[in-house]
């Protein structure tokens, strides 16, 4: 079965710096990778989707890359703010496969 792996350790950074989160997948290439933000006790919120034929996608301060050779997606938040503190989930999608989410990485931005 396929796996989506994210760093389980929290990422602590200073306000204004760029946060970079990693998502690795195994077994087969997902057609799409999606990134979600989840605040404690609430449902995830969709942020960005990147297709396997796209190398990079941007939305405001967010950037996602997709490297099918490394089987990895990187999620960047530039000029990070304390309000960006949350858990960020990576998910695969595409076709009739069961939607698969990683366990998420907690980001803490210190003022």
């Amino acid at each position: 079965s396929q796996k989506i792996e994210q760093n389980s350790e929290a990422l602590n950074i200073q306000e204004g710096k760029t946060a970079t989160l990693t998502c690795n997948y195994t077994n087969y290439s997902p057609a799409y990778l999606q990134w979600y933000r989840q605040d404690p006790g609430r449902g995830p919120v969709f942020l960005l989707l990147i297709r396997e034929n796209e190398k990079e996608k941007r939305k405001e301060r967010l950037k996602v890359t997709f490297d099918t050779t490394l089987k990895q997606s990187l999620f960047h938040i530039t000029a990070s703010q304390p309000a960006d503190s949350a858990t960020y989930l990576c998910a695969r999608s595409g076709g009739s496969y069961i939607p698969t989410f990683g366990r998420g990485t907690s980001l803490i931005v210190h003022p």
């Binding site: 449902g43 969709f46 989707l49 998910a91 999608s93 069961i98 939607p99 698969t100 366990r103």
Partner: protein, 113 residues
Amino acid sequence: EAGVTQSPTHLIKTRGQQVTLRCSPISGHTSVYWYQQALGLGLQFLLWYDEGEERNRGNFPPRFSGRQFPNYSSELNVNALELEDSALYLCASSLLSVEETQYFGPGTRLLVL
């Protein structure tokens, strides 16, 4: 446009009881997904419904079941509750497109005592 709604927001039950959770998808969305998120754990896929049919099921016992109604709303039923069923139950909806971007509801927090 209204987002995904879930009810109730919180629920306390005792072992052995049964519970029904409800979800209304975004208007126009035909797919509904259910997930379980225990404290500190990731999203565990439970069920996927589309056009009233169960399309896929996660690795959960048969006491977890559900259905989707003609208006695309959905119910999740859990029988014979166990302590480890305590979790946040999330519903998501999507268009049945190959990209399957999911829009989540606020969740139902279930506590089993």
